[in-house]
Amino acid sequence: MKRYSAFAIAREALRHHSGWDRAWAAPAPKKRYDVIIVGAGGHGLATAYYLGKNHGITNVAVLEKGWLGGGNTGRNTTIIRSNYLQDSSSAIYEKARSLYETLSQDLNYNVMFSPRGVMMLAQTEHEKRGYLRTAHANALQGVETEFVGPDRVRQLCPIINIDGPRYPVLGALWQPRGGTARHDAVAWGYARACSAMGIDIIQQCEVTGVRSEGGKVTGVETSKGAIDCAKLGMVVAGHSGVLAEMAGFRLPIESVALQALVSEPIKPCMDVVVMANTVHGYMSQSDKGEMVIGGGADGYNNYTQRGSFHHIEETVRALVETFPMISRLKMLRQWGGIVDMTGDRSPILSRTPLDGCFINCGWGTGGFKAIPGSGWGFAELMATGASPLTAEFGLERFREGRFVDESVAAGVAH
């Protein structure tokens, strides 16, 4: 596989780019793999990549019923941060964030990680207390955050309506090394790197059944025939319940539509990511100039990838109040994705009742930012049977009442 570089581009430019190879191979499935990962989204591909890179397991297939990166990896608002309150959350998100720092170099694929900083506004006394608590927690977790005052907020993001009047900004939790990345590139970069290690990515291959013997997984049935495996990892956000049912267990999950929208592109006016949880809205500006805005989730189970418009309205209302200048921008496009919401709104990275079968799901509204950490930890769990990154995210926590609840810090998990 050719290395990507400015030099390679210059070389190819002279021959009309005729020399570029496929970014990833398109193999037919083998009869058997050591590990099958179902779902070629960011999390699935990252799992496969770290299985190969960290654990030397490359006899791996990643099965994808559609096209790789076509689920929530390519539908989110690309925010990366790790300023979580609970130790177990901040561990996996900070692992992910730190991997993002060098991911472009690691994968030889520019994922455009832009550590421009993430700011979560405190607009009530209660919210301010919550963020101060998070700042204290982060300091002990090794996550670099800071609680900044209104003047600093104004300086970091001049377009914010600092003085309200409805919810004056009292300060913000600021993570300077949070930011954004190019979502598609994350999936493509992992896919290319997996392919280079000899991992098979098989698109247009839908899993239709899970095979087991004596309580142990033995393989899957797919639209491209039966494939055997020793271990199976399910990484199919939005469809986890359906797959779990094939394997004979149920999940504490409900699938709902989460919406997002972008404005038309404008010249740079906002160099940070801002989240305003009191009014329920968050926004950043993409490299293309679009204001990227996250909306709310529907309150009902939904598999349509379409949400109800009133959530868009609520979000835009909040952001027009927070950033008055966007009132005369126009919404270019809105879309939805199906997200899995768990009982405590934290993810599940766990063994399952079926031996050899593992599940990674329930990232809710915040999965993109976790991709490298999730892949790292889940690969470790699958390869060795345990990972400190995933220890607190087991399925058994719902029976024990041992939740990982992030909503406590007044922060909605995006």
Binding site: H239, G241, V242, R250, L251, P252, I253, E254, S255, G299, Y300, N301, N302, Y303, T304, S308, F309, H310, G343, F398, R399
Partner: protein, 109 residues
């Protein structure tokens, strides 16, 4: 943006008048129940891709809770019925079976 018809006040209204309360016909497990039953009651959900029985409240309206049978793939609403019941009316189940050949209601656990 769904339209639901509240069986309690008869009003057909848009979703913003309502609040969804999740899966219907859950059986409550109290102090003497097993860990597993209690976990199932609180957390395990059918989350089907297809027909879903669910609870709604007409919150910006008559305030009443009711149940709806709705397809989570097409958002078709097969019918609504009062909440004071432990299982969907037979007529509604028949109607769904007619529209979705092969459909059977999962055991309500």
């Amino acid at each position: 943006m769904l339209i639901l018809t509240c069986p309690c006040c008869g009003v057909s209204a848009e979703e913003t008048e309502f609040h969804c309360g999740g899966e219907a016909h859950l059986k409550r497990f109290g102090p003497d129940s097993s860990d597993s039953d209690f976990e199932t009651y609180l957390f395990q959900r059918q989350n089907p891709r297809g027909v879903h029985f669910e609870r709604w409240r007409h919150v910006n309206g008559c305030g009443k809770w009711f149940h709806a049978a709705r397809c989570t793939q097409t958002l078709e609403i097969f019918g609504t019925y009062p909440a004071q019941t432990t299982e969907p009316p037979q007529a509604l189940r028949d109607r769904i079976a007619e529209k979705r050949p092969g459909w059977t209601q999962e055991s309500v656990s």
